[in-house]
Symmetry: D2
Subunit: 296 residues, 4 copies
């Protein structure tokens, strides 16, 4: 009996990742590792983090080979739920690398993050499927075609926003996406849209020290003479740009920059940071803890 239909668990490339979040208390690591050991799982990587051993939250990620496992997928998960997860009141999930995650992408006109994701996927750097790209413009349709990725245009205006979002959410649900990446999508997703999608959404935005708010932050950063431009990738919540941060980075700039060169340098940081955030998400390294992340 195989672990899942079409999944050969003796294939050495196939591993599973168990992620756990729960209230911290004694004995969690012992219970989990003993369960895995008992059922023949060969642990490759294991990470734990406790925000506070007294009354804090506990986070764990375990990656293990499937080839020694004595249970099929469904049995394994049911047994874990009963014997370990329920007693410790765990928020948990098992992901199988044999089933790559399905990533929806939303874009507008900027191509830098979008092309970076497509190229990395093609090169095998990101183990992911991309069943659908949705844009409010036609600009990047040709690029999607070049890389063989389905592209849908859903125009968004002031008047049709609610309707457009319903359509977008419907298309992503039909495409069966596991998460959505806003690769410089220049529209704010409503709370309704986020609930309609019902999957994690990752966004990338520019960041400065200090922060600049408003329509043209690169111009504001230019006028303030910043020496660094940065980018932040985060999970989207209803509060704009205030969701759990996954990854950040900066690049040095100097007095010679114009708003245009700041934007160009910013784009390079944006795509690097987004790619690292997406990779961490794909590898189940990011666990959300309130409004923060644990990135194993």
């Amino acid at each position: 009996m195989t672990l899942a239909q079409g999944l050969d668990r003796t294939d050495p490339r196939h591993t599973a990742r168990l992620t756990i979040a729960c209230a911290d208390r004694k004995g969690i690591v012992a219970a989990v590792s003993q369960f895995l050991h008992h059922h023949g799982a060969n642990i490759i990587h294991s990470d734990q983090h406790s925000t506070d051993p007294q009354g804090g939250q506990f986070f764990m990620r375990m990656e293990f080979h499937l080839d020694g496992l004595d249970l099929a997928k469904e049995q394994f998960e049911r047994a874990f739920a009963q014997q370990v997860a329920e007693p410790f009141d765990m928020n948990w999930r098992v992901w199988y690398t044999a089933q790559p995650k399905r990533m929806g992408i939303m874009v507008s006109n900027y191509d830098h993050c979008f092309l970076d994701l497509l190229v990395r996927k093609r090169r095998g750097e990101l183990d992911v499927e991309i069943p659908l790209v949705i844009s409010n413009h036609a600009t990047l349709c040709g690029d999607a075609e070049m890389f063989g990725v389905p592209f849908a245009q859903v125009s968004v205006t002031k008047d049709n926003k609610a309707e457009a979002e319903q359509e977008q959410a419907r298309l992503f649900r039909e495409a069966g996406v596991d998460f959505v990446v806003l690769a410089r999508y220049m529209q704010i997703l409503s709370g309704e849209m986020l609930r309609g999608l019902a999957v994690p959404v990752i966004n990338i935005h520019h960041s400065f020290l200090p922060a600049f708010i408003g329509a043209n932050p690169y111009r504001a950063a230019f006028q303030r003479g910043v020496k660094l431009v940065g980018a932040t990738a985060h999970y989207v919540t209803e509060e704009l740009d205030a969701g759990p941060i996954i990854e950040q980075d900066v690049a040095r700039v100097n007095h010679r920059e114009t708003p245009e060169t700041l934007m160009r340098l910013g784009r390079d940081v944006e795509r690097q940071v987004l790619a690292r955030a997406v990779k961490a998400h794909l590898e189940d390294r990011v666990l959300v803890s309130g409004n923060k992340t644990v990135v194993f």
Copy 2:
């Protein structure tokens, strides 16, 4: 005839630095370089920047050896003023490396920036004299003594702040400081104090992406789960932490940090950034352009 009393201009270590800011127009570089060439100055380094060749601001820094100069210091400066600076309406100054700048320091209880400056000065990394340190506490008096630096304590309370600031400004004026560094001085300088000092003041403060405001920014940064902590060195203006930025940098942090480790990592960035800003200021590399800096 010597360039200045006690200044031997044939000493190869002695150079002068001419800094210029003015409205941009054609012919500035030609006029300055011809003047220096005509009087035998041997240019070592030259930097120019124009914010916009049409109607922008022009900035220049020229460093030159004194040993070929055919004029004494006073004559040289008078001739430059008449022949070059006035026709172009320049804001200009000449600094002589034979006369190291005099740096006043203000500190409270944190020692990391303070000790870093003292050690770098002793090691010869900063070509500077430190005629006076003023603190509102006695904590760092022993450290000042260890490094042979005069230390004055001027307590500041809610009631005596205006008076205390007058005393501080008076002490710095008497000590003949060319600029003041706030090496984690935990009081805000009033506009009156800044005018009383009448010299540039450099401050260092922590910086985050996004920015956190209020009494305990490291705790706010911890609660938001930032992946970078940073520091910004800037010239002090009356508007708190909004003066021209000289230097910035960041350090990576992760989910394991506590507010305490964030502070510790932040301290390392703070002292590095402050040291670089002070060094750039000492070498006359920082020209202020409105609320921005040009750092050559």
Copy 3:
């Protein structure tokens, strides 16, 4: 009268860049800036560097608008040669932004540097024309097509190397390239090939602290447990990987890496470093000084 056929010198986007290298002596900056000023050139940027004011080398880059110039291109260059360059025995050149440089590219099978250059060119980040890509394999032919770039395959074997190089050099000469970029081209260019090309050649290679030599440096770096992987972009000389360095950078790695993840992280550094080197070269910011570079 126009500066050159088809070149409208009143177009504000059109500037010229004058690069100069010569033995340092007094009066160079004055002579150059006076010449430009006299002929109505409006200087936008100016950089100088002297390796040693006594007996060293002097390097200069001046960028200026053409719209005030009182001479046509040929007259301007002839006058500069006679009045300035010859008296100072200068190695010099003027480049006009209206005539973008023509970049030849050599690739083998890795796509990361190649695609990065194509995407940046398309996005307008690199002001360059790409008249020809030559590969010893057919692998990247489709990518070249996607981006509308001419592609020629010239197979190289142990037996035909000299002949193949002659063919490659001939193709590049016919395509009129101003410089060639080895975007992970896995063959060593012979001295004869370099002389046959007669244009600058830029290479990118991985770099480690310490250095690892031989067939599989990422494996060697893995076995040594390095904490950084890096990349170096340099001009190619006959001595392998020992030409003047243009740009370098590193990325942090940890004990979890495999030789494969080291390579992947290394690729990201490689393409960033190569893109920065190519951009600096395109903007005439890189002046070669013996076996070093001055990068303005």
Copy 4:
């Protein structure tokens, strides 16, 4: 009954760190975590790494509170040895934070790494005792005094090297040091000295891309025009500068540098890298794996 004489295990600041290295096989994590759980240890942090789940090496670091422990120190360690360590043939050790490690320091004339360690220790950033500093010169004796650290001068000449090393090893043994840091100690330790010390020795040295060997690497780096200077901290083995790397970093440099400014910038990297390596060692985060390190 207390865990150890003078050690109050109910003190929340007191934790223990268990480090383990052994051949990887199934069940290790389960065995260790169950043992700790059974004896009431409250795990705060736990890190594992396997070089290869089939036939590789396994590394583990567990930090736990002592206040729930049902055994005294000696009993606890004896039980662990019998029940867990021996069956799995583990190389293991328990460290108690209540007993800070004792660090010996060796210096010559450079003060930057030395002062950095002393200042960080005083500030509480490094939880360490410094029972002895040994130098082959008297230069830094005053600094040791300033910070209240015992200082011994042992001159080393070509003729007395073996004898001097014996004396140094004897002094360190008498001082009871747990490890030794070469804070820019300009002598090579012989294999005999390393065996005589019988504790880990950490060294810091400059690093470049590419590597430069010989008496004056900063001059060689200057002549090659490197764009980065770096530093590597590593454990000392008999093969010079080839021991397991703990930490590395770099700083950007440009064509303006002289050999002197390269050294100054290099010093800043050296002291940062050494401080991070020492901190990681103090917190038992560094496990040696052949000629590599695992840094948790």
